[in-house]
């Protein structure tokens, strides 16, 4: 049987190379897309899967529900909750705090900036990261312990065999010697917890207000529980927990007020969930939109389905050509069963050839996809081969069953007597049309969504941010609250050649620290509005060039412009300070026009704020995030942890980077930060969409290709079958042009129907994806028009050759066909 099948395929390859090639290439492409996307999706779903029992490792998240702001989830929680967790919840097996900070590590003359997690000694009881060296139970017990990642150890020592070695660490000016107690193994899969180093929380850190105040967000708290039931119990009691521990006096900064549960909540999210959950969580892990990932898998499956449709289409269309073979075999005594098995077998062998092609394509494409999507995706043969085997088998069956059923059912007498080849009749023709419609409907829907994704990605990159992003460089790290050094830095930067202006501010593109407070318009009865605060030092207006909608910008000659800053103004009760609002704050505070707000007074506690100007919203955030109402102060005093920003001209970006770095290193030799462009700081906001856009483009390009391969095969078959008909029509007086229009219309009708069918679902999908963005494009009819016209043009080109040949046929010649 196998020999018969192989011999048949070889014979077909010789007699109908085009058909076999279309079939195998179509299937290969379909399977390759399916395979690559499945690997990609599997990667996205496997985050933290390599951490043992990660589903029972839970992160405590804070929820802030403030008037005037959308509710916000924060992965960073107040550490004051930490000691109570153990006492309140016996279900908890272990907990650890987890606060990250930049550490300068030094071993001999090698220096490394390490993203270091300050944790409790119980860390490895909660998150059982694998160690390459050392003992998890004792690794963090001594206060001077430091655990290094394998990469960091390599960078510092050139080897990982460094247990017991002493290194010098520097964190916020605390320079100490620490002993390497363990080395983290390189994770075997994607993980969200991948610090460069781990160290016990230093004593000085614990004295910071975020360890003692409910209103702060310090870092992560991780909890290990036994199972989902225990998790449920804890979740249910978290409101109670907040009421019990966060209640306090209304003016008590360390508590969350009389009714903390009204504006503050806690929730749990497991490590297996964070990668999808954290999309809109502040301080969360690098996240991916789960629905987008699922759509990717859907695209993979659909691409394969398109290829299957192709194969079925071509096979049923061509069944007629093999009718005589069937008739003769049957006359010679073959049973229907034998023929059926033979045809299905042929389909499976064809698919297997396609599968081999797919594997090769995948091998070639995977490094590109990994680079494109910024993942560490690799070909995992332990998964790929069994998966491909299953796919080939299923695909082969799907491709083979129906055509085999048709073929094996031919009646020999009927076939041998007929003058024309059977084509499976009108029902098979309907099936073929139906399949072409479905193929193109999917291809068109993909293409529309692809266009929308790409337009949104592009929109986010070119969005009007409310300031002039070109020609600005921003320090990659913030600086200590040291007046002398801050002034020294401003001076050093100002005297750097090429620098036009310099300023310090807490908020910069891609905000890393947020400070919020409550205000109310004086004389208004509405409640408090929770606003984001920023304080600027230096020439901010020239550096960022915000757009003033009304009023004026700060000016150091006005006494009340110079405030203590947003972090400290409330320490001067009874005073009035001048501030600038952003557009969102303006509308949240109830003003209709920017002009009407100028001169208005706001109350915050016992301090009065006078609005002197209103600016357009400055978008320092992701397009997914809602713009916060913001109030900006001006100060000449030092501020807590500001970034430095510089506007430059007359020199290239890279030259400026080097010059500014020199100036910075003079003032902060121990904090080796550089300068970044706005683009660099904000690219994380749109890079995933951009990468998705590429992936979608490629996938939908392939989907259209597969659909066109199918259309081409079908058209060449139909052209063959209809030659005779064209002869008749021409003999009856049809011109070539009439025939051409008729044939084109017949070929393109299913494509048109597909476009109509695809429109609504594509619109819904695109709309729901876009709803995840606060700054977004609108789906336009142009998206549809472009995709539909391009698709029809491509489809028309695909069938044009066949159609032209058909339409030009000499009638006498055409009538002789068959």
């Amino acid at each position: 049987m196998l020999i018969t099948i192989l011999r048949n395929i070889v014979r077909q390859a010789r007699r109908q190379p085009l058909y076999l090639a279309l079939n195998v290439i179509g299937l290969g492409l379909g399977m390759a897309v399916c395979l690559v996307l499945t690997l990609q999706v599997r990667y996205e779903y496997s985050f933290n899967a390599s951490i043992p029992d990660a589903a029972n490792v839970l992160r405590l998240d804070a929820h802030h529900m403030n008037p005037g702001n959308a509710p916000q989830e924060n992965a960073d929680v107040p550490f004051i909750a930490f000691p109570f967790l153990h006492t309140d919840f016996p279900q908890i097996l272990a907990t650890t705090r987890y606060e990250t900070a930049d550490y300068q590590l030094r071993a001999g003359d090698r220096r490394v900036t390490a993203d270091t997690a300050m944790v409790d000694p119980s860390f490895f009881d909660v998150i059982t990261l694998k160690l390459e060296r050392g003992n998890a139970r004792t690794a963090l017990t001594r206060p001077d312990a430091i655990v290094l990642s394998a990469n960091t150890a390599q960078a510092l020592f050139g080897t990982t065999d460094v247990l017991g070695r002493i290194i010098t660490t520097d964190h916020e000016g605390h320079r100490v010697s620490q002993t390497v107690t363990a080395i983290l193994a390189r994770p075997s899969g994607p993980v969200t917890i991948r610090p460069d180093a781990l160290t016990p929380i230093p004593a000085y850190e614990m004295e910071k207000p975020q360890f003692t105040r409910w209103g702060s967000s310090a870092g992560d708290i991780f909890i290990r529980v036994h199972n989902a039931v225990d998790r449920g119990v804890i979740s249910q009691n978290l409101t109670r927990f907040v009421i019990d521990h966060a209640s306090g006096d209304a003016n008590d900064d360390n508590s969350e007020g009389v009714h903390p549960e009204r504006h503050f909540g806690l929730s749990l999210v497991s490590l297996r969930e964070t990668h999808f959950h954290d999309l809109q969580v502040i301080g969360g892990d690098e996240a991916t939109d789960r629905s987008v990932v699922n759509i990717l898998e859907l695209i993979g499956v659909l691409a394969l389905l398109l290829a299957v449709f192709n194969a079925v289409n071509l096979a049923t269309a061509r069944a007629g050509l093999r009718a005589r073979e069937v008739a003769i075999r049957k006359t010679l005594g073959a049973t229907r069963m034998v023929l059926f098995v033979q045809f299905v077998g042929e389909a499976i062998v064809n698919t297997a050839v396609g599968g081999a092609l797919a594997l090769a394509l995948c091998e070639v494409a995977l490094p590109f996809t990994a680079a494109l999507t910024g993942t560490t995706l690799h070909m995992d043969y332990g998964f790929t081969l069994p998966f491909l085997f299953g796919v080939v088998l299923l695909t082969g069956l799907a491709c083979g069953l129906y055509p085999a059923l048709i073929l094996s059912s031919y009646q020999p007498a009927h076939v041998l007597a007929a003058t024309r080849m059977p084509s499976g009749g009108r029902s098979a023709a309907r099936l073929r049309n139906g399949l072409v419609i479905i193929q193109f409907a999917f291809a068109v829907a993909f293409a529309i969504c692809t266009l929308v994704v790409n337009r949104q990605a592009n929109f986010m990159q070119t969005l009007d941010l409310g300031f002039v992003r070109e020609g600005v460089l921003i320090s990659s790290g913030d600086m200590a609250n040291d007046a002398g050094k801050q002034r020294a830095l401003i001076e050093a930067l100002r005297h750097t050649p090429g620098v036009v202006s310099t300023c310090l501010s807490e908020l910069t593109p891609n905000i890393d620290n947020r400070h919020r407070f409550d205000v109310t318009p004086v004389g208004s009865h509405s409640g408090d509005i929770h606003v984001l605060g920023d304080t600027i030092v230096g020439d901010y207006a020239t550096t960022y060039r915000p757009r003033l909608l009304a009023g004026r910008w700060f000016d150091s000659s006005h006494g009340e412009d110079d405030s203590p800053g947003d972090d400290a103004f409330y320490k001067a009760p009874g005073k009035t300070w001048n501030v600038v609002l952003n557009r969102t704050a303006l509308s949240r505070l109830g003003f209709v026009r920017p002009e009407s707000a100028v001169g208005a007074l706001l109350k915050s506690g016992s301090v009065t704020l006078r609005v002197i100007g209103v600016t357009k919203d400055m978008l320092f955030i992701s397009a997914r995030e809602d713009v916060s109402p913001q109030i900006t102060f001006y100060s000449t005093a030092p501020q807590s942890y500001p970034h430095a920003s510089v506007r430059f001209s007359g020199a290239s970006e890279n030259i400026m980077r080097t010059r500014l770095k020199l100036a910075w290193d003079q003032v902060f030799p121990d904090a080796p930060y550089g300068f970044e462009t706005v683009q660099e700081r904000m690219s994380t906001f749109y890079i995933t969409e951009q990468r998705r856009g590429w992936l979608f483009s490629i996938a939908s390009g392939i989907a259209v290709t597969i659909a066109c391969l199918g259309l081409y095969g079908l058209a060449s078959f139909i052209a063959l079958r209809r030659t005779h008909e064209v002869g008749i029509r021409k003999a009856l007086g049809a011109t070539s042009q009439k025939v051409l229009t008729l044939m084109l219309r017949d070929f393109l009708r299913p494509v048109l129907v597909a476009c109509v069918l695809a429109a609504v679902p594509a619109w819904l999908v695109a709309q729901s994806w876009l709803s995840g963005f606060h700054q977004r494009i609108a789906v336009s009819w142009l998206d549809f028009a472009i995709v539909v016209s391009v698709t029809i043009a491509i489809a028309a080109l695909t069938v044009l050759g066949q159609t032209l040949r058909l339409a030009r046929a000499e009638p006498a010649c055409a009538l002789r066909a068959e």
Partner: protein, 227 residues
């Protein structure tokens, strides 16, 4: 004079061989004639009919129809000529499988500008004429050979052509059906149509007014039947 062929030649060239299907044909046919063409298989009868029907072009010579020189016309003009003047009955019926009998017949009219209602009326009339009205909604594969041939004739006459070309219209039919088809053709001729018919049946040829015998791509005899 309706048709005037002079020095018509049709060569088929393939890579090595050259076949002469028609060789120096001179032929005149008057309006209202009923001509039968006979000859052995392969002598060029169908080729001649195809050239008369302008679905094949001669490689040499001239073909005048009334006052028009057809060999000088382009493809679109020929298509127009066919739909205005010609009715075709093929040897192998040549009905389109995917269309019903009614639609097949209508095909001869849809390339003319004519309101749908008139088209329908003419189709119904043509089907009556050949006696297959009760099969209007059937597909060709559901009809017998004789019925299919009559449908093909209905399609040829529905446009009320001045010239009907029939290539072995009775070739695939039994005696009875053959006689019926000949009957229809004679009736059409009586009504004024010019008919040129290829046949292998001497008795059917005798029903025509004139008989042309062909051999190896040439006309050898042309005789008028006494009626």
């Amino acid at each position: 004079m309706l048709i005037e062929l002079s020095h018509i030649q049709r060569l088929y060239r393939s890579d090595e061989v050259q076949t002469t299907a028609l060789q120096d044909i001179d032929l005149q046919i008057e309006t209202g004639e009923f001509v039968a063409i006979m000859g052995p298989s392969g002598c060029g009868k169908s080729t001649l009919l195809n050239i008369l029907g302008t679905i094949d072009r001669p490689t040499g010579g001239s073909y005048r129809f009334g006052t028009q020189e057809l060999t000088a016309m382009n493809e679109a003009e020929l298509a127009k000529f066919r739909r205005e003047h010609l009715g075709y009955v093929f040897q192998s019926f040549n009905l389109i499988d995917e269309l019903t009998i009614e639609e097949n017949i209508e095909l001869a009219l849809i390339y003319r500008e004519m309101p749908k209602s008139e088209r329908r009326e003419r189709v119904a009339h043509a089907m009556d004429h050949v006696g297959i009205a009760h099969r209007a909604r059937h597909y060709p594969s559901q009809l017998s050979g004789g019925q299919q041939q009559r449908a093909a004739i209905a399609r040829a006459i529905v446009g009320q052509p001045s010239l009907i070309l029939a290539d072995e219209p009775t070739g695939n039919l039994d005696t009875d059906n053959g006689a019926q088809v000949m009957d229809i053709l004679q009736r059409l001729n009586d009504e004024g149509a010019t008919i040129i018919m290829v046949t292998h049946s001497p008795s059917h040829a005798d029903l025509a007014r004139r008989r042309i015998d062909m051999l190896d791509g040439q006309v050898v005899v042309s005789v008028r039947n006494a009626i």
